[in-house]
């Protein structure tokens, strides 16, 4: 069959060009693959969910509990279809796998990005792929946010209300933008069809296109080589080819990973729509966004109130916390390849301890986001009596500056220690070698 295909499609050329791509063997190089597997599983489970989901927020009769003729029990169609989906065999399980997988995909992407950052893999010639990767992260977050609005339970409803408010807080264009994005004044009659369109067509399309570009660039530019490759064969590509050596490893990893996520989904419920109930005026206590947006949520919780007007546009705490601050953070991440530049093409993954400032800035940045995420738990910290209403903001603001600073200098100190030990080792080895020569 190979020959039959080859005569018609020249697949041997495809084989030479793509399928023999060498993959470095190192566990940290599997993180990007895990992100890709998650995306594939998300698409598959998403397709199955879309078969039974009804994208509409018009009211329908609750078929589980129709109420009486003069007081019928009406529910939004989307929420009703989620109830029906939950009642299907493995329906709830599918939703949980989809939801867990989304959370884990972002986690894998973030850890993958940490590997790229700490080993300097974003340097010339791979800056473009760093930027594409960041766009993937942003669009993955947007896809996830539109995703947890779709069940249209009370939690989703409150979430989308806040998201709408954030969009509307942009000065000058906010109101128009929010109405255009969410099909009219909240909650417009077309809000769920609109978000459904984003979630299953627009955003996955962008994600797939960006993923394709990310992969092609990676094949074209090759992975950075792990340090051991330098010792084995200097300036040569070392690794196992995609077909057939890397493929079974990937398959095994996919199955193992999928198994773990399915176990998660089986034992840890996520987003229990029936528990939250249909959209209502009752607020949800301790409502939180998904983990990767907690830092924005935390920033909103501790930024004190203010509001001023420039040229007719209102700039408030909400805009600064939820739009301006994330923009600055994302811009900083985009700027990374321009701040840490190498003149020559970078072949080898760098040892983080050889770049202590980059390492320390990275860990301090993570510490900052972590503290901001902790600030997202402000109400919980207050009800647990760890902080009081009066001191919560002050304490959290101080932590936001102190913890990253301590992390920065701590990292520099530890790296110095490691390097001193390594130099001592090298001296030892030298003197031993010298002694053996005598």
């Amino acid at each position: 069959m190979n020959q039959w295909l080859d005569e018609r499609l020249h697949i041997s050329r495809l084989n030479d060009k793509f399928l023999r791509k060498a993959f470095p063997v190192h566990h940290s190089f599997f993180l990007g693959e895990i992100t890709l597997f998650s995306l594939i599983i998300l698409i598959i489970t998403g397709i199955v969910l879309a078969l039974s989901y009804e994208p509409s927020n018009s009211l329908v009769l609750n078929s589980f509990d129709p109420g009486t003729a003069d007081k019928p029990n009406m529910l939004p169609a989307a929420y009703h279809s989620i109830l029906k989906l939950n009642a299907m065999p493995f329906g709830d399980m599918l939703r949980r796998i989809h939801h867990w997988m989304a959370n884990i995909m972002v986690a894998a992407a973030v850890i993958h990005m940490m590997r790229i950052y700490f080993t300097g893999a974003f340097k010339k010639p791979r800056e473009i792929n760093w930027w594409i990767g960041l766009m993937l992260l942003i669009f993955a977050a947007l896809t996830a946010v539109t995703g947890y609005i779709l069940p249209y339970d009370n939690y989703s409803y409150n979430t989308v209300k806040v998201v709408y408010g954030i969009a509307a807080s942009i000065p000058w264009i906010g109101t128009w933008l929010a109405q255009a994005a969410f099909a009219g004044n909240f909650p417009g009659d077309g809000i769920i069809p609109r978000i459904y369109g984003y979630h299953i067509m627009l955003l996955p399309g962008i994600l797939l296109a960006l993923t394709g570009a990310h992969m092609l660039l990676m094949i074209k530019q090759k992975h950075t080589q792990p340090q051991y490759a330098k010792r084995i064969a200097y300036k040569k590509i070392v690794g196992v080819p995609l077909l057939t050596q890397q493929t079974p490893i990937m398959l095994m990893l996919t199955l193992l990973f999928a198994g773990i996520v399915i176990l998660f989904a089986a034992f840890i419920p996520v987003h229990p729509s029936e528990f939250f109930g249909p959209p209502s005026t009752t607020p949800i206590n301790n409502i939180k966004p998904d983990w990767y947006l907690l830092w924005v949520f935390g920033a909103l919780a501790i930024i004190p109130s203010f509001e001023f007007t420039i040229f007719g546009g209102i700039i408030g705490a909400e805009f600064v916390g939820a739009i301006l601050l994330p923009t600055v953070v994302i811009a900083a991440m985009f700027a990374v390849p321009m701040l840490d530049v190498s003149k020559d093409n970078n072949y080898y993954a760098e040892n983080p301890t050889n770049h202590p400032v980059r390492l320390a800035i990275g860990t301090a940045f993570m510490a900052l986001l972590l503290i901001m995420s902790v600030a997202g738990y402000k109400p919980d910290l207050i009800s647990a009596n760890i902080l009081t209403t009066a001191n919560a903001n002050t304490v959290l603001w101080i932590l936001m500056f102190v913890v990253p600073a301590v992390t920065y200098f701590g990292t520099i100190g530890i790296v110095r220690g490691i390097r001193a030990l390594r130099e001592a080792d090298e001296r030892d080895a030298h003197s031993h070698a010298a002694a053996a020569d005598d």
Binding site: Q179, A180, N185, G190, T281, S305
Partner: protein, 220 residues
């Protein structure tokens, strides 16, 4: 091989193609923007989306008793959520919940506890007071504070309000207090006495004035 060269008298092929593609791209982008403009549907101020107007009866918003008029005996220092209920064109009862920002918070405090800057004329005997229940920060429903008795807290970003002092902000990120709604007693029920006394979420002052005018014009 002869090299073929010819001076084009008017326009080179490259320039023509560039100009044609540029025009196509411009027209395409302009029309795409035009189409995107229709993504924003026209807002129609129907009666179910109007803010509470004079004469509306306050009814329960909680799912179990939604639509039942609130009785004064049911009120306490615990928050009771309410919708304004008006009439549609045919005079039938209509709960104004088309706009979720119409949800109200109603309290009854012992006499003397409600103090300035609450507007006393808008309360019932200085005991019963009603506010917009929508946080001015990000538009979440505000609830009772589980830490401090008699205060309100927003579960989203912990904005805090004091309903005994005109719902001024006493903590957290909200830019301004909750708008007070004038209410009157009518038998055992509560009736709205007029528009919110300040701009409620999500209106700015000028937008709120415009909305009030629009409502008056439509109901006149």
């Amino acid at each position: 091989m002869t090299r073929y060269r010819k001076q084009d008298p008017e326009i080179t092929r490259r320039r023509f193609i560039n100009a044609a593609m540029g025009t196509t791209a411009t027209v395409g982008i302009v029309s795409l923007v035009g189409v995107l403009g229709t993504a924003n549907p026209v807002f129609r101020l129907t009666r179910d989306k109007m803010p509470p107007v004079e004469g509306d009866i306050l009814v329960h918003a909680a799912a179990s008793q939604e639509g039942d008029p609130i009785k004064i005996s049911e009120l306490s220092e615990q928050l009771v959520r309410a919708w304004p209920m008006g009439k549609d064109k045919d005079g039938n009862n209509l709960i104004r919940k088309g706009d979720p920002n119409n949800v109200l918070a109603v309290y009854r405090f012992p006499k003397g506890q409600i103090i300035a800057p609450t507007i006393m004329e808008a309360t019932v005997d200085g005991e019963i007071v009603a506010y917009s229940d929508v946080c001015t920060h990000a538009g979440c429903s505000v609830a009772d504070d589980d830490q401090t008795e008699g205060q309100m807290k927003c579960p989203c970003h912990s904005g805090q309000y004091d309903p005994k002092r005109g719902c001024i902000v006493v903590g957290g990120p909200p830019p301004r207090g909750l708008a007070q709604l004038p209410i009157k007693q009518q038998g055992d029920n509560l009736v709205v006495g007029g528009f919110f006394l300040a701009n409620p979420y999500p209106f700015t002052e000028s937008e709120w004035e415009a909305r009030k005018e629009a409502v008056k014009a439509q109901l006149a």
